[in-house]
């Protein structure tokens, strides 16, 4: 008998394709790759500046390791969404499904949906070809694909194990140490991506070392790129069994976690939102809409908004080095982070319930200016933190250029996001390539200003 999950998912994709039409379906595949081609000129001077002056291959190794860490990290977070917090859990969790089959189908869907990611990584590495040749590029591309698959399967196994860890009283002590202010069970899921990253990065780093040696003339070392796929196959073999023992129970564990989060949410938190003090400085009309966006955005996309502090810190760390090129690297990271996070403006509009648009009077100027301001405010950590670092570590004139450039990027990204959000459901499709081009052009111009 055919696999009912596979059959249902095939039908779902067919209906989605029919609704979107052939053009949008094709664009969904082509745009991420096009964006990678467009970002390539930005990637080259910032991350591949070592080319041609890298006699021991350390630069190549460094960039490959960082790239696979990003791919494995994305895979780990995606796997949490697919296996633990999937939308299908509410449907399948009530049926006598084979959880092993469900887990494999979720991973297949993930591979299908995110296949562009390692391909885009390989495109970003194309500037290796003129200096190191097609062979090294092909090995690097294979490493990207293998490491990503390894990340997916290792992370799947780790997340399924995390369900048992979350429930197991013998882990209570260690989970209490790690949980911070989160429910104990959530600690297992919070740390699972980190553990998956550590486990999957090891074979990926060994493979990156093989590519480095290959670039230095040791052709046989290229065989090491087979290591991550091999680990991927081994991990995949464990997934069905782990899913059969844990997948169903995760529903109850998640219900516990959500109930505890709801209880720890203090009264104050129920009314306050990050940056809501901004509203005091706004006229009443725009202030009302700004407060709505601040509250809804903070409660629905809190981790995304908080991640801007992460972007600011990462960009600041990149700028901290004494290397004169460090502010340039910091600026590139800050600008990329700003353009990525500004996409939240499109998502806010997409999330807006249709009845609001129908029932409530519309004040487009107040609504749009409020949303622009809210987006601009959320992006500020990526402006202020690295600018302060450049001022401390380099000099004030560089810091002023850095500050001006990131502030301008935040303003532009907010405006572009706002413009694309008018397309509602299709806004992200438009925002993706526009943001990629704008980020590339903007960073090239701005880094030119710094150097």
């Amino acid at each position: 008998m055919s696999n009912p999950h596979r059959k249902a998912r095939r039908l779902i994709r067919a209906h989605q394709r029919a609704e979107r039409g052939p053009l949008l379906t094709a664009l969904g595949v082509v745009l991420p790759l096009l964006a990678a081609f467009l970002v390539m000129p930005l990637f080259q001077p910032v991350f591949l500046h070592f080319l041609g002056k890298d006699p021991d291959g350390e630069g190549l190794f460094g960039v490959l390791v960082r790239l696979v860490l990003v791919l494995v990290g994305v895979a780990a977070i995606d796997t949490y969404g697919a296996l633990i917090r999937s939308d299908g859990r509410g449907i399948l969790g009530l049926l006598p499904v084979d959880a092993g089959e469900v887990a494999i189908e979720e991973l297949r869907d993930l591979v299908r949906a995110r296949a562009w990611l390692p391909v885009a990584a390989a495109i970003l590495l194309l500037p290796l070809v003129p200096t190191l040749g097609w062979g090294v590029w092909a090995a690097s591309g294979a490493l990207a694909v293998g490491a990503w698959l390894c990340g997916l399967t290792v992370s799947a196994a780790v997340h399924l194990l995390a369900i048992s860890a979350a429930e197991n009283p013998s882990f209570a002590g260690i989970l209490d140490l790690l949980r911070g202010s989160n429910p104990r069970e959530q600690a297992a899921f919070l740390w699972a991506p980190g553990l998956a990253l550590a486990l999957a990065s090891l074979p990926a780093a060994l493979a990156a070392e093989g590519v480095r040696r290959m670039a230095l003339g040791d052709a046989a070392a290229a065989a090491s790129v087979a290591l991550p796929p091999l680990v991927a196959v081994l991990a995949l073999g464990r997934v069905p069994r782990l899913a059969r023992s844990g997948w169903f129970r995760a529903t109850a564990v998640l219900a516990d976690i959500d109930a505890r989060y709801a209880m720890v949410e203090e009264q104050e938190e129920a009314t306050a939102a990050y940056m809501d003090w901004l509203v005091r400085f706004l006229p009443e009309g725009a202030g009302r809409y700004a407060l709505k966006d601040l509250r809804h955005g903070w409660r629905a996309r809190r981790s995304w908004i908080s991640a801007m502090w992460g972007v600011g810190i990462v960009a600041g760390l990149a700028a901290w080095s004494g290397d004169p090129a460090a502010p340039t690297r910091g600026l590139a990271l800050a600008v990329i982070g700003i353009w990525l996070t500004a996409a939240i403006g499109v998502i806010l509009e997409r999330d807006e319930p249709p009845f609001l648009r129908i029932w409530l009077p519309q004040h487009p100027t107040a609504q749009r200016s409020a949303r622009w301001l809210v987006l601009f405010a959320w992006l500020q950590p990526a402006v202020w933190v690295p600018s302060a670092v450049v001022a401390l570590r380099h000099d004030l004139s560089e810091a002023a250029v850095f500050f001006g450039a990131t502030l301008l990027a935040a303003g532009l990204a907010s405006a572009v996001s706002l413009g694309c959000s008018l397309l509602r459901e299709r806004g992200l499709l438009a925002y993706g390539p526009v943001a990629a081009v704008a980020a590339a052009v903007f960073t090239l111009l701005a880094t030119g200003g710094l150097s």
């Binding site: 009912p4 249902a8 039908l11 939308d87 449907i91 006598p96 219900a255």
Partner: protein, 238 residues
């Protein structure tokens, strides 16, 4: 023969809040059980422990002798459920969704399920185009596919239009007469009085009444409900 459902000393807490307190209930096969209670009485929590979406803090829940939490897949083979907020695949038609569920369950008459819920004319529309009421009917149709031994309905008859509600009630009655067990949780007393053989009343997480519906007489359930509610409230004050 093992009972259809057993709640064995089930307790469920959320931090310091006790949602369900020491519930011991055995539901025989071939019975239609109405679970009633005020808002926040613990009905949905108890139903969730039965369908496995929430674990009990203490105690055990069994369906046809199978522990719902220790053997989740085996328990679900005996169980059909419509939760308070049912989920469906938005990008499938009702017919495709029900066919999928029938395949997972290893059988079931999709046309019959569409027919008794009155979804036949809309069966080939995507579920994302359905109203909330139609989605609820779809979830109900999915729950009865393969005629599981135990059917759990959490507030599932609320919001159905009168002809559909009548058709569904008759279908459920036929299932019970054929030896299946239906558990309907609701706060609408009239619905329970109209369909259930046995009424279990929860208040503040405890079972405060467990009666045969035939013993209550016309309007008796509502009187009992109000009386027990007042009684538990007074006990709470003392």
């Amino acid at each position: 023969m093992t009972p259809a459902v057993e709640f064995i000393n089930v307790r469920r807490t959320f931090g310091k809040v006790v949602a369900v307190e020491r519930v011991d209930l055995t539901l025989a096969r071939g019975s239609f059980v109405g679970l009633i209670g005020h808002n926040g009485a613990g009905k949905s929590t108890l139903m969730k422990t039965l369908i496995g979406t929430l674990g009990p803090s203490e105690g055990q829940v069994k369906v046809c002798g199978v522990d719902v939490h220790a053997q989740p897949r085996e328990a679900r083979m005996h169980l059909g459920a419509v939760p308070e907020e049912p989920a469906v695949y938005e990008y499938l038609t009702a017919r495709e969704f029900l066919t999928f569920v029938a395949e997972v369950r290893g059988g079931g008459d999709v046309e019959e399920a569409l027919d008794f819920t009155g979804l036949g004319d809309d069966a080939d529309r995507l579920l994302r185009e359905y109203s909330q009421g139609m989605r609820r009917k779809t979830a109900l149709a999915a729950a009865v596919l393969g005629k599981p031994e135990v059917l759990v309905l959490d507030e599932s008859l609320n919001g159905l239009d009168p002809p559909s509600a009548a058709r569904v009630k008759q279908y459920l009655r036929d299932l019970v007469d054929a030896g299946h067990t239906v558990i309907l949780s609701t706060h609408v007393v009239d619905t329970v009085q109209a369909v259930a053989d046995r009424v279990v009343m929860l208040a503040h997480g405890r079972v405060v009444a467990d009666e045969q519906a035939s013993d209550l007489g016309p309007g008796g359930l509502e009187r009992l409900f109000l009386e027990k509610l007042a009684q538990t409230r007074d006990e709470g004050r003392r």
